[in-house]
Amino acid sequence: MWSSCVRTRSMLSPTTLCVCNEKTALSFLKIWFMLQYEWNRNQRFLFQAAIAFAMSHHLDLEFNVSNILVCDETPRVSFWFVVTSPDDPSRLVGKESVELAVRASRSRINNILLLNDATLEFIGVLPTLAAPVKPATPSWLIVFGVVIGIIGAGIVFLLVSTVVQKKRYVDDDEEAQMKRMAGNEGICNTSFSECDRNTQM
């Protein structure tokens, strides 16, 4: 990995070094891969291509894979990278525009590398989370409506049936009552106002 850095170093002016420290941090972005990711030359190439795509998309210039420089890789799979301008390889593209480009195409970069916001972190670049999905009616209101509808129907049914039963009982006058009771035993003497078969205690 250092060999590629050295090679590019020879193309650049001596002042531009592939050393990633605090002085050059303005131009460099550090990233972390937070899972067991097989890191080799081809994966690095894919990453560079993804960043090149993001930069081209954001700035409308044509970036090449060679414009993305990766250095100081660690076993954690974290490294610094820097973007050089396509017109002038010795000039570095500012950190802010790189950040904006990454932010704009973050989901695309994630999908290219088969990672997500939790497993691929660009230090200093906050992810843009998906907007919450707001359905037209909140789903709980639908269930609530169903339940209260059923309960309301139940109450109405019970009230109506009580009223109907009471009406039927009142409509039955003495004769109908007598006929019903005559079937059981004896005849009810209607001289009593209330035909009460049970005596009060």
Binding site: P75, R76, S139, L141, G154, I155
Partner: protein, 485 residues
């Protein structure tokens, strides 16, 4: 047919199920496990069962006796024993009224959570995104998603009890629904209540059983169960343990509120309530113990998950700070690596020390929670980590609802029965009386959580006063009972 023939339960089973439904309530699920944890695990069962024998069963039996023999609600029954004791009955009716006011709010919360379970992602599973869409909301990140959902999205809690936060529409609707359902259950008196209790008494056991199986098969559940049942016998020397055991028996069985008198008053005169009293008391205590096994299995699962997440965060922090390969630190050797890195890179490690969390399974297990916090925050946190969490969520909150509704039935019956006994009210149709009373109760939607907590804490005082007076007069009741027999 005599006009004032009293309604009766269609069968003794209905009466037993009604008592079970009333006694087995939210307290069995969220208070008893907490007490068990606080007072020495398995050792707490000793004072609990002793109090059941000395205090619970006798009082339960006596209340059923009064109700069944007098065949009147609490006011009438106490007045029948002695005219000077009518005040006890009145006090219990007033207490039941206060209870009804706030108890249905908890049912409203259960409805809210139940309705919100019908979503592809449970709303308390993750924090909502903030306005910049750069990360989760700050308030939610400081607490946890489940706490945020309960305190902010459900209650929209105000900073203190003095500040009035206004009416939450969603909560008001759920509260209205809770009262409407209660009305439906009691609309025909014991005829409707008797049918409803078949379901409200038995369904919670189905869910508890399902949760027992699910809970025991969860990763880390045995940690919790072991923690709970390890007895700490020194707690028995603490008088608070015995006081709490007595209080728990008292409230768990619902003594002194007039509900048991009311239920028993609809019994046949020669019903064998002696055996039923023992059965219901034993079922109630057995359910408490059963529910606490389930709760501690869930606790153990939640504590283990939190502990492992803590270890994972520590692992990532170490990997990032020291730029090590991904597989050099695993969850199992986090602590060893901390030691190793501390010795090899002391200065770098010192910089990390304020970011490093203290991960301990004991600490996670010992955070005991009771009350609404347990039912709505801790449990929902555990549920969101289960596979197929929507199903478990629906089952769980439906069970909470059945437990709450069953207890509400008892409380409402404690109020309607004495009112019905008054001759001038029996002319008014039952439905109308209940309707009017419900409308009055709906005004209690202005109560919020702080009031609920306050009422829960203080409602106990009145029945306790009743109880101390009544135990003296229970001798009279016993003598009266012998006379009647």
């Amino acid at each position: 047919m005599a006009k004032d023939a009293r309604d009766n339960w269609e069968s003794p089973t209905q009466f037993v199920l009604a008592c079970v439904s009333y006694a087995v309530g939210l307290g069995n699920v969220w208070r008893f496990p907490y007490l068990c944890q606080m007072h020495g695990g398995g050792g707490f069962l000793i004072p609990y069962l002793l109090m059941l024998l000395l205090e619970g069963v006798p009082l339960f039996y006596l209340e059923l006796a009064i109700g069944q023999k007098m065949r009147l609600g609490s006011i009438g029954a106490w007045t029948a024993i002695s005219p000077y004791l009518g005040g006890i009955g009145l006090a219990s009716v007033v207490t039941s009224m206060y209870l009804c006011l706030y108890y249905n709010i908890i049912n409203a919360w259960s409805f809210w959570y139940l309705f919100h379970s019908f979503q592809s992602v449970l709303p308390w599973a993750a924090c909502p995104v903030n306005s910049n869409r750069t990360g989760p909301m700050e308030e939610c990140e400081k607490a946890s998603p489940t706490q945020y959902f309960f305190y902010r999205e459900t209650l929209n809690i105000s900073p203190s009890i003095e500040k009035n936060g206004g009416i939450q529409t969603g909560q008001a609707l759920c509260f209205l629904l809770a009262w409407v359902i209660t009305y439906l259950f009691i609309i025909r008196g014991v005829k409707s209540t008797g049918k409803v209790v078949y379901f409200t008494a038995t369904f919670p056991y189905v869910v508890l059983f399902i949760y027992l199986i699910r809970g025991m098969t969860l990763h880390g559940a045995l940690n919790g169960v072991k923690y709970m049942f390890t007895p700490k016998m020194e707690e028995l020397a603490n008088p608070t343990t015995w006081i709490n055991a007595a209080t728990q028996i008292f409230f768990s069985l619902g003594l002194g509120f007039g509900s048991l008198i009311a239920f028993a008053s609809y019994n046949q005169y020669h019903n064998n309530f002696e055996r039923q009293a023992i059965i219901v008391s034993l079922i109630n205590s057995g359910t408490s113990i059963f529910a606490s096994i389930v709760t501690f299995a869930i606790y153990g699962f939640k504590a283990t998950i939190n502990y492992e997440n803590c270890l994972d965060r520590t692992r990532i922090l170490l990997l990032n700070s020291f730029n090590l390969a991904e597989d050099s630190i695993t969850i199992n050797n986090v602590f060893e690596m901390i030691e190793k890195l501390n010795t090899t890179f002391p200065e770098q490690f010192a910089e990390l020390s304020n970011k490093l969390e203290d991960c301990s399974l004991e600490n996670e297990l010992s955070t005991a929670v009771e009350g609404a916090g347990l039912a709505f925050i801790v449990y929902s946190e555990a549920i969101k980590n289960m596979p197929l969490s929507q199903l478990w969520s629906v089952l769980y909150f439906f069970m909470l609802l059945m437990l709450g509704m069953g207890s509400m039935l008892g409380n409402i019956t404690a109020i309607t029965t004495p009112l019905r006994d008054f001759k001038f009210l029996s002319h008014v149709s039952n439905e109308i009386v209940k309707n009017i009373r419900n409308r009055i109760f709906l005004q209690s939607k202005y109560f919020g959580k702080s009031f609920c907590v306050m009422l829960v804490v203080f409602k106990g005082l009145l029945p306790k006063l009743i109880c101390t007076n009544t135990t003296f007069f229970y001798n009279i009741a016993g003598a009266l009972q012998a006379k009647i027999k």
